[in-house]
Symmetry: C2
Subunit: 190 residues, 2 copies
């Protein structure tokens, strides 16, 4: 049954991707390793050939998942004038599409309160991803010295995460849209 190194590496990647999606969809604690391995096309016993523990998988899946908003924001901002870049990034992050597809979106919004209770490795990964998002936004704030731009970006990213989270909690669809729209407007004009 042994697989080639290349096959094994692809398997590991498949588990990681399944985890990154399932955690964001159902939550970290609520997602079992068995379901994850089935989603990756394997039986659950093989998990420990690739990862030391669930905690280690969580940390790596968190890092993997953070690539999604980073790519999303970087792509939206690229090739825009500075003000336009911030506007485009906010519009993408705060879109109804992002809200309605948590499994492919930002883990800080989909898993924020759970990540706060995770072990150090996961929180380090989340911190690094957050700082990369902050850097992308800071780079789009032209009219300010770099450390002021960084401070503004710290708040802007926090606003996006809070607004997206609340837009998913709220039961009134009109209110949900309103939260996203007003946050976007605020970030664009601020």
């Amino acid at each position: 049954m042994r697989k080639s190194k290349h096959e094994a590496a692809k398997t590991r990647e498949r588990i990681l991707r399944a985890a990154a999606a399932e955690f964001r969809r159902k939550g970290i604690v609520a997602t079992g390793l068995s379901d994850l391995m089935t989603a990756a096309g394997l039986t659950h016993g093989g998990f420990y050939k690739h990862f030391e523990s669930k905690d280690q998988l969580v940390a790596e899946a968190c890092a993997e998942a953070l690539e999604s908003p980073i790519e999303m924001m970087a792509a939206a901002a690229s090739g825009k004038t500075r003000g336009g870049g911030l506007k485009a990034a906010a519009a993408t992050y705060l879109s109804t599409e992002h809200r309605d597809a948590p499994a492919d979106g930002c883990p800080l919004a989909a898993l924020g309160s759970e990540i706060a209770r995770c072990d150090g490795k996961t929180r380090v990964a989340a911190t690094e991803g957050f700082l990369r998002l902050v850097d992308i936004i800071a780079g789009q704030i032209g009219k300010a010295p770099p450390n002021v731009a960084r401070h503004q970006a710290l708040v802007a990213v926090s606003t996006m995460i809070g607004a997206l989270t609340m837009s998913r909690i709220v039961t009134d669809p009109k209110l949900s849209d309103e939260i996203l729209h007003q946050a976007q407007k605020h970030l664009t004009q601020g």
Copy 2:
């Protein structure tokens, strides 16, 4: 073993309070009913004499927990001039004390991403609490027509929730303080 109606009502209240604290401390999914009942000084079998299911308890505990930030913000804002009220409310919500005591703080920050996956009752409770927070903040924004103030408050509360959540995720204590401080500064001047 039967207890008087008054005793039974006090027991129910004890379970609810234990749940509101433990959920915020450990997360909803990660908190078992057994631990909760023990924390309330009972054996786990009696739970269903007071609540229909864990889901129902979650909804009621969420509503109960929301009283904490509502009271916190209302108290901070009361008796202040309008600008001062917003400043005081933001300073309290975004304090290191609030960050370091999630079990007594805002459930939207402590449980946000989990609440987004809860059933309708819980999300309705969260929505109502959120709107009460928005109203308190909107009442502190003087220099704008009511619906503009409400829009600004929607964003302000989202910013507070996002910033508090991120301040708990981040592993660098300096960065954590910085997030709280910059968000507070932003809300105060904005």
